[in-house]
Amino acid sequence: MKDFEYCAPSTLREAVALKAEKGEAARILAGGTDLIVQLRGKRFAPDRIIDIKNVPEANELSYGPRRGLVIGAGVPCWRFYNDADIAERYPGLIDSAAIIGGIQIQGRATFGGNLCNSSPSADSIPSLITHSASCNFAGPNGKRSIAVEDFCTGPGANVLEPGEILVSLQLPTAKKNTGCHYQRFIPRNEMDIAVVGVSSHVVLANRGKEFKAVRIALAAVGPIPIYASAAGEGLVGKTVSDEAIAAAATAAQEVATPISDMRGPAEFRTHLVGVLVKRTLEGAIARARGKFVANAVQEAAG
């Protein structure tokens, strides 16, 4: 790997200036669990690395009834799955945080980095999409926000301008009768990249018998994480039933465009979309009805 300049700014303004100065020749370092591997693999050869972990805005992890949940781009996974407040309100998010790599990776890896890495198989992105999360950027021209589902543009590509930085992710306030669940399929029980990942987010009405709002998102079955809007919208107003769930699974399969690679053949991946949409919808419905569905950490804790 080529050597580079390392900067660790302590203000957002400074970070933006450092990034804007170099544009694409500067890369942001959050947890580094993707970036450092990519530097070694020569996917990037930046002149400057900007470590954002000393930037207060990137370190924020807070929940408020009006702002919802703010996750700074430098906050590692372990910080929010160990936060009881977040774990209780956003269990579908913890499903993702608890399975990104092993414990060592979770000690460093961030959702911000996972999003900016923009891999189609990223475990956090489907959950962010179904939670209607937005990303907050800062750049030389000020701040802006967009929906997470509009962030990725291709494998490893996204809408960030060369001078811009992802500062934080913001999720709306957790509402009642709401449940979300993320599952991925991997051949081992840990440490793998998703062959397929699915997040389902439901709001139920009519004492939990009817779908009021549904968002479904898919990982590793297209060039970007896919927001399967039609699959979710098709459930709205319907009674919760196996048939309705099966129809959503089929609708999600229709928007999946997987490739065959070492992680699995395309046909198998399409099949898994159906399986995981069904399983995650069931998990999300159970959570919306107040039932406990364990994430990976809770599963370990029995």
């Binding site: 390392y6 414990i103 840990e190 370990a300």
Partner: protein, 159 residues
């Protein structure tokens, strides 16, 4: 590129070093500072042989730049034993024959120590879940898991 000056604490000892920004914490620990107990197995965060703690958080030192270590506290395998005795985990690894070639052992010990610091009474499943980021190719993990469970009991008993 000029070298960075880093001040850090390793196993309780304040230390400082110069490094290139591209050098990983693992590389500096091993090649510059001589902490060769921390091993390199894959250099991409998938084997856990280079596990260390940074401010008490378990990480792979191959995935952290050495320059990021400024002002932090690092814990390595060399810091587990005291001059008087081995850490109970080290002792139990020996008693249970929880190592064969031993290359993964430092990583497992550091990771297990972090587990017990965080959860002194783990179940077998919790041990397996916590250690899934540490690969061992020799033992089939059976004796490692038993050693960790046994050490946990001993640590609790002596607490």
């Amino acid at each position: 590129m000029s070298k960075a000056h880093v001040q850090t604490t390793i196993n309780g000892e304040q230390t400082e070093f110069l490094c290139e920004p591209r050098q990983s914490l693992l590389e500096v620990l091993r090649e510059t500072l001589g902490f060769t107990g921390t091993k390199e197995g894959c250099n991409d965060g998938n084997c856990g042989a280079c596990s260390v703690t940074v401010d008490g958080v378990l990480i792979d030192s191959c995935l952290m730049l050495a320059v990021e270590a400024d002002g932090v506290e690092i814990g390595t395998v060399e810091g587990l034993a005291t001059p008087e005795s081995l850490h109970p985990l080290q002792q139990k690894f020996l008693e249970h024959a929880a190592l064969q070639c031993g290359i993964c052992t430092p990583g497992f010990l550091v990771a297990s120590k972090a587990l017990l610091d965080h959860n002194p009474d783990p179940s077998e499943y919790e041990v397996r879940h916590w250690l899934a980021g540490n690969l061992c190719r020799c033992t089939g993990y059976d004796k490692i898991v038993r050693a960790v469970l046994d050490a946990a009991q001993e640590v609790r008993a002596s607490a």
